[in-house]
């Protein structure tokens, strides 16, 4: 398979994983809404001893859950819009925040927390958000497979000397995964980087993954 085709296939796989995670999380929100609404109906029908306040708590819980589901839809919507155009001006922090929200369930399943440490002075950049997010996803996934339960991954952004740096810092015990989990191959990551026309250095001694994008991205800081 050519590098380009492999990359397309990788992009599809990542998007599929994100969509599957979204669908799973949405089902959970819907399940809570349905059970809480069902419970409210059951209580009203049974003419039980629940007070008006108890019923209001239940309707409040439904509203809260609808809010959480809507927020998740917002993340996916923004993520989708970012991927519509191959090269656009975008805010890296916001794009990463959406990605983190969408993959946090994957991390939660492994009891791993995704934390942010974003450079607040990050200017809008002009580049390929799809490739960047794909790359970050692959690296986060790779780190997660080797990180023990209870660990965390800090996703840092920095903008210095006209270069954007994203650093992924794992915290916690590093373990060998019990089973082979399919993550992005090193070749795919390199292809992705070539596509982004960027450079990457993985500090293996500190287990940190660092992406430095300085050539293909034009800062629009005024």
């Amino acid at each position: 398979m050519s590098a380009e085709k492999e990359l397309k296939s990788l992009q599809l796989r990542v998007i599929s994983k994100i969509l599957a995670g979204f669908s799973h999380e949405m089902r959970n929100h819907l399940a809570i809404i349905k059970e809480t609404a069902g419970l409210t109906e059951d209580i009203i029908k049974s003419g039980g001893s629940k007070s008006k306040n108890d019923l209001l708590k239940l309707t409040g819980a439904i509203e809260e859950q609808v809010g959480k589901a809507a927020l998740l839809c917002n993340y996916l919507g923004r993520f989708g819009h970012l991927l519509e155009n191959p090269v656009i001006s975008f805010n890296v922090n916001e794009a990463l925040a959406d990605l983190i929200a969408l993959i946090s369930r994957l991390a939660h399943q492994k009891r791993i927390t995704l934390e942010r440490d974003f450079d607040r002075q990050m200017p809008p950049i002009y580049g390929d958000p799809s490739g960047l997010l794909l790359l970050v996803f692959c690296l986060v996934e790779e780190i997660m497979t080797g990180l023990d339960r209870g660990g965390s991954i800090i996703i840092k952004t920095a903008f210095l000397n006209n270069a954007l740096t994203i650093t992924l810092v794992p915290k916690g015990s590093i373990v060998q995964p019990a089973e082979e989990i399919e993550t992005c191959s090193a070749e795919a990551i390199q292809d992705l980087l070539r596509l982004l026309n960027s450079t990457i250095s993985k500090k293996s001694e500190t287990k940190e993954a660092m992406i430095t994008l300085s050539q293909s991205i034009t800062s629009r800081r005024d």
Partner: protein
């Protein structure tokens, strides 16, 4: 036949507690637990007829919990709760597979059903969001099977 004793196991606290309360309103003796570590003590203490088990809870293998339940009492019937699009997907990363558990699709009026492998004790499955009447029917069938 007396109503079944049901243990709901799901890390989504609001879901599990609301479902448990709905079952109580239908005269089932239902209780909810929200983490893997609470399952076995609760199974030993409550001796449920049926366990509704979410296969994907953080930091645990649902299949391991299932096996542990069966070791305590092989006659306890387990109904799998899944938020995934299919049971096969739900079993991914849990240490089990659809093949291991002899679960497969049978298309019946576009309703997907998964016959259980008897010795493993997976009685049935329900997809989230749950249709309560469908679930109640499955619990009653599981209880009936356990009583015979």
């Amino acid at each position: 036949m007396t109503r079944a004793k049901v243990l709901v196991v799901d890390d989504e606290v609001e879901f599990a507690s609301a479902l448990s309360e709905r079952l109580q309103l239908r005269n089932y003796e239902a209780k909810a637990v929200y983490s893997a570590k609470d399952v076995l003590p609760s199974v030993k203490k409550e001796c449920p007829d049926v366990v509704l088990l979410d296969l994907k809870m953080p930091g645990m293998s649902g299949i391991d919990v299932l096996k542990a339940i069966k070791q305590v009492d092989a006659t306890i019937e387990v109904i799998i709760l899944t938020g995934q699009g299919s049971i096969d997907e739900g079993l991914k990363g849990t240490g089990g597979s659809a093949l291991d558990y002899d679960l497969y699709f049978l298309t019946d009026d576009s309703t997907k059903k998964f016959p259980q492998k008897k010795e493993e004790g997976i009685f049935d499955y329900v997809m989230k969001p749950v249709a309560i009447e469908d679930l109640v029917e499955k619990i009653d069938k599981a209880k009936k099977k356990r009583s015979t």
